[in-house]
Amino acid sequence: MENQKRVKDLTEKYGAENMIVLIGGAEAEAAGLAAETVTAGDPTFAGPLAGVQLGLRVYHAVEPEFKESVNPDVYDEQIGMMEMVLDVDEIVEEVKGIREEYGKFND
């Protein structure tokens, strides 16, 4: 809830086109929910983003778009282990699907 409020406030301040949300959920379903919240709005209709379609750029930390844009040593040090532990394909598929469906900035 607190995170939803933060995303909403930051988006109002800096504009949706200047926002990227990076998520780190450990499983596809949770990651998908987070991605949906910052694009199509809170699917549980419980938080400040209920019914608010921000359509933000959203990526999971294990997605190639993010991985390729950061220093590989730092990535390995911070995320390398979890990349091996998590079901990366499932997470990528889920988050990418939501981004493509609800994102407003598909660049």
Partner: protein, 514 residues
Amino acid sequence: MNYPVVKGASYILVHAEDMVIHNGTTQSTERVINPDSEYLKKLPNHLRSFDEAVNYLPNQVYIGNYKPEDLKNQQQPWYQNPLKDADRFGKFGEMMPEDEFIGLIKIVDVFDLVKLTKEFTEEVKAKLEVHPLIKGREDLISRLKTGDELSDIEKLIDEQGAEPLITGGNTVGCVKRAHDVDENLSAHVLFENLVSKASGVLAGLNLIAKNDINPDDVEYVIECSEEACGDMNQRGGGNFAKAIAEMVGLKNATGSDTRGFCAAPTHALIVAASLVQSGAFKNVVVLAGGSTAKLGMNGKNHVEKDMPILEDVIGGFAVLVSENDGVNPILRTDLIGRHTVGTGSSPQAVMSALVTAPLDKGNLKITDIDKYSVEMQNPDVTKPAGAGDVPTANYKMIGALGVMRKDLERAEINDFIGKHGMEGWAPTQGHIPSGVPYLGFAREDMLEDKIQRAMIVGKGSLFLGRMTNLFDGVSIVVEKNPGKADEEKGVSEEEVRKLVAEAMRDFASHLLQD
């Protein structure tokens, strides 16, 4: 280095059916928010009997009658595959039914706060008089006294805020409040503290009895539960340790409490090892009782999935750390991992600090540790609640670290988990499943030469106390004792060689002389 040893361990469970309903926080919160809820109505039909809890494989592993590897051979969920005629008494400890435990709560109360009915006192006295560890302890049994009238007890509950003691659906006694205003001495808090104390005492009694320990030899006790005792001027003032030592009969011991949420037992183990290795004390006991608050914590998920409430047991354990005897497994105080203030909170930073840092100190590979004892929560409990299989998640991360260190190939992670990991068997009682449940088996496996090394890892979520957002954890390597006896043998072999050489020289010189 003269490392301290793990000289014994005990593990106990208390089956607390009625306490699930009346004292578990999930249930007590529901009663406040939603007193007519479907969950509260359905709950009683999902409770297990004592015999069912005894015949539950993970519980039998906890008290030492079965081994962790036996869990692998039985299909999950284990509650669907009960054992037959399992024993409530185990190699490491025991499972106590609720009525006997309420008797024990009365026994450990020294302030006349616990009142039991006359009938119940008689019943429970008869049972405790034949309990193998309590029957010889007239000093304990006599503390039950003769009991009070039910009407007096009901009056205390109705008019003076006493907490009812219920078993078999009947009120058999109460815990009185110790102060009119002070919340820290309310009946509710005292009840929880007495439960923690009584289950700690039961673990202590089992430690002494099952490991052939002379209680007079114990010099220090470290209690590491998650409860706080004290009054409004010193909430958490503490010393459960000494209170428990008194009842166990450790008359030469003093002690203190160590806190650190779920990580506390491993913190306490490291403190105990340090006290022994420094020479401050020869024998230090680390122990903890369990909590009623966590009973039925995931009950809503269990009932929703039409399963029995598996969180129906209070846990306890005790470990004796002693001077090196050349036999029992050593605690490698030079191979300790710790999550520091500066470690960071990413899973990778946490696992590196706890697992690979101590290995680096000893020039060990991830695969040099035969068994990792992490958060050994029973997956039967956690999976239906959406928390997954906690030990397996930990082993995956340790395996992945191994790949990153090039100790194993990526394709070997699953083999690694199978070989160096274990299925979880401990009840979800916070500190109880954390690292220590395997110590008893580790000791046995090392004494029987089955494994060389184990790592005990304790992790804690400090945010729950709202004082810091930092994560916490510590770890320590336990190793098979290389043995003083071997050293002596080495010396004597050399002596023999010297003697033989001398004899040969003598002989040769005689030959030359001749």
